[in-house]
């Protein structure tokens, strides 16, 4: 009995359509762990600056470093020193403080824009694939029209129409991200909709929206999640590019792209003003890409994990697990899942 319950708790991780299982696999990938580390620091910086800004009114950062918006003309373009670890910019503002505050904007753009594309893409892709026929054709052709316009140009056009503001930046990048998600989701759903549980749900009289939201989307989630992590970096770079070009985030709000823009005037005399925001953009994008790469790698065994209950040759779940587990164990012999082998046979 005890071994049976331990099996249950172990396999429970694989129940969540492989998402939890995938996340669990992640810690065996050094790439993903480093990526996760960078992303965690970024999130820490973002949280710190947000709390500092809204709760303490910049008291914390002023005490520790300097007010990111406070000008100090005498100290303009001061090189890195003990009091200004990353130097100061043309108005004498502390670059380090501004870099920390910039992470808030970068993360917000990344998460909100990706959130918009994610939700929009998943819904459109799933609906198109599930409906099939003309609905599918029309929706996907519209999506492809959106896809055929270069992202930056489209974002600039949208910003020019709607006006430069951070909310419009979220919106513009959210819209241009939709096609990628819609296509990934569509291809997932094309196979999921043939599953018997979808037929079973139809035969039970559940309406289309319930079938989409309960049966189809949760099962196709994992692939889109990888797409989301991988495109986060791209969105952050894109937003930085827009800010650099003068659209997007408006001064005096600290944003890495905007900082780069102003720093170019003094690139030779004060390279630190450009170097540090640039480095942060680089690290952020690398962090998210490494995390996404790790996620994608961890997804590969997921296909075999998923098979353990899709395949029709096992009267008792777990009996076949030894086979699928060996495949996973090739990647990481230290996998704790190995105790499934002895627990799964009863």
């Amino acid at each position: 009995m005890s071994s049976e319950s331990s099996t249950a708790t172990n396999t429970e991780f694989e129940a969540e359509s492989g998402i939890v299982a995938t996340l669990k696999e992640l810690r065996y990938s050094p790439t993903a762990v480093s990526g996760g580390f960078i992303v965690a620091i970024l999130i820490g910086m973002g949280l710190f600056s947000t709390i500092d800004l809204y709760v303490f009114d910049k008291q914390l950062i002023t005490a520790l470093l300097a007010d990111p918006h406070e000008m100090d003309q005498i100290n303009a373009y001061a090189p890195p020193s003990a009091s200004h670890p990353m130097g100061t910019d043309q108005f004498g503002r502390d670059v380090f403080a501004r870099v920390i505050y910039g992470s808030r904007i970068a993360l917000a753009i990344g998460l909100i824009a990706v959130g918009i594309s994610f939700v929009g893409g998943v819904l459109i892709g799933a609906f198109a694939a599930y409906s099939g026929g003309y609905t599918d054709d029309v929706l996907m052709r519209l999506i492809e029209v959106l896809y055929s316009i270069p992202g930056l140009v489209l974002a600039m056009t949208l910003m020019a129409i709607m006006g430069a503001s951070i909310y419009n930046l979220f919106f513009a990048y959210g819209i241009i991200g939709i096609p990628a998600y819609a296509r990934v989701m569509r291809s997932e759903v094309l196979s999921i909709r043939e599953e018997e549980y979808v037929d079973a749900a139809r035969a039970a009289g559940l309406p289309t929206y319930k079938i989409l939201l309960r049966e189809i989307i949760p099962n196709g989630f994992a692939a889109v999640l990888v797409q989301a992590t991988l495109s986060l970096g791209g969105v952050i770079i894109g937003a930085a590019a827009l800010s650099f070009l003068g659209f997007g985030v408006q001064p005096p709000t600290a944003s890495w792209g905007r900082m780069l823009n102003t720093a170019q005037e003094a690139l030779l005399i004060a390279p630190w003003v450009a170097a540090f925001p640039g480095l942060m953009i680089f690290l952020t994008v690398m962090g998210f890409n490494m995390l996404g790469d790790g996620l994608r790698d961890a997804m590969d065994p997921k296909t075999s994990l998923k098979n353990s209950y899709d395949e029709d040759n096992l009267p008792v779940p777990g009996a076949d697990d030894s086979g699928t587990r060996t495949q996973t164990a090739v990647d990481d012999p230290t996998s704790p899942n190995i105790d499934l082998q002895d627990g799964g046979d009863d």
């Binding site: 694989e14 009289g205 949760p218």
Partner: protein, 346 residues
């Protein structure tokens, strides 16, 4: 009036290769409390026929003709929404072939059952959940309260099938369609499931259509049997009559090719050839290409279903007036007649 009266049902698939006449003029009736067996080899159109009843056929398939009278109302005239809200799950429910893939892997079994109850009945979530636990208890799942909280992959194959049966029973339908429900299970579990069907038929007072290719299983659960061949019904009779006194050459051949424990494999007499394509079915009697006793008239026009005994009909010209001059054949009622039995008149 019978509970379900299917008349001249035709379901065609309009594919690029041509029109697949998967179900072509099928008629049968199911009385209240009765279990009808729909038997035939793979590709005979059994599953398409039962899916057509509920309007579950997806394009390019269409129900092109015929009527499905359920409690007197023609289901083919119902709209999709009417079918969904008034028939599927509540009046007629389906149990699918492969229990492993007919349950949604990302939700607990209890959630999936209570979801259907909540959708069709005006009950609270708690009431639906406790009903789901009751149902799991009814279908013989031990510790139903605990099991309801588990995911499908934590169930054994037999348990999964029991859970699916519970799901089909959830809104107490008047008719349950079981589409090869034991095909994916091994024989010991199969026997348990067949017993369970007997129990629930009495307890819930439902009628059943039992689709299978296994004549042995039919003996266990069915009151009447309709034998299907290439989209048409070849023979229909109460099961005892059909076993003792098969009339259609196809039924006779099927019975001779059935494996049973007291029969050596050498004694088996497989049916020669394979089923022709449903795109260009043979003219006249569709079985004539493999029929050992086919004669000239068999290629001219479809054979009607002749009465060959009490509540027993067979679609074979040998029993018609324009047949072969041996109309006495069915009256002699030679049990288990071999090829020679019907073939003597060639």
């Amino acid at each position: 009036m019978a509970l379900l009266e299917v008349e001249d049902l035709r379901t065609y698939f309009y594919t690029e290769e041509g029109i697949v006449q998967a179900v072509d003029g099928v008629s049968f009736e199911v009385e209240r409390g009765e279990t009808l067996g729909l038997v035939g080899e793979s590709g005979a159109g059994k599953s398409v026929a039962v899916k057509s009843l509920l309007g579950l056929i997806r394009p390019p398939g269409h129900v092109v003709d015929g009527s499905v009278r359920f409690k007197g109302d023609d289901l083919t005239e119902y709209s999709e929404a009417q079918l969904r809200n008034q028939v599927r799950g509540t009046e007629i429910s389906v149990i699918f072939q492969d229990p492993m893939s007919a349950l949604n892997p990302v939700f607990t079994v209890g959630t999936q059952i209570s979801e259907i109850i909540e959708h069709h009945r005006d009950v609270t979530h708690e009431a639906a959940w406790s009903r789901a636990v009751e149902l799991l208890d009814d279908v013989g799942i031990p510790d139903p309260a605990e099991r309801a909280d588990q995911y499908p992959h934590e169930f054994s194959g037999g348990m999964q099938q029991r859970a699916l049966i519970a799901m089909a029973l959830s809104c107490e339908p008047d008719l349950i369609i079981a589409d090869e429900p034991t095909t994916a299970l091994d024989v010991t579990i199969q026997a348990q499931i067949l017993d369970l069907f007997d129990d629930i038929k009495t307890k819930y007072d439902t009628s059943m259509i039992y689709v299978t290719h296994d004549l042995g299983v039919v003996r266990e659960v069915c009151d009447r049997v309709s034998v299907m061949y290439l989209g048409e019904i070849a023979e229909s009779a109460p099961y005892e009559e059909l076993y003792r006194n098969p009339k259609h050459p196809y039924t006779q051949a099927l019975l001779r090719s059935t494996v049973s424990a007291d029969r050596r494999t050498e004694d088996l007499d497989p049916i020669e050839g394979s089923m022709p394509s449903a795109i260009h079915p043979p003219s006249g009697c569709r079985y004539r290409t493999r029929c050992p006793v086919a004669f000239e008239d068999c290629s001219r026009g479809e054979p009607p279903r002749f009465d060959v005994g009490p509540d027993h009909d067979a679609a074979c010209l040998h029993y018609g007036d324009g047949g072969d001059g041996d109309p006495k054949l069915h009256e002699t009622g030679r049990p288990g007649t071999g090829v020679g039995g019907t073939g003597g008149d060639r």
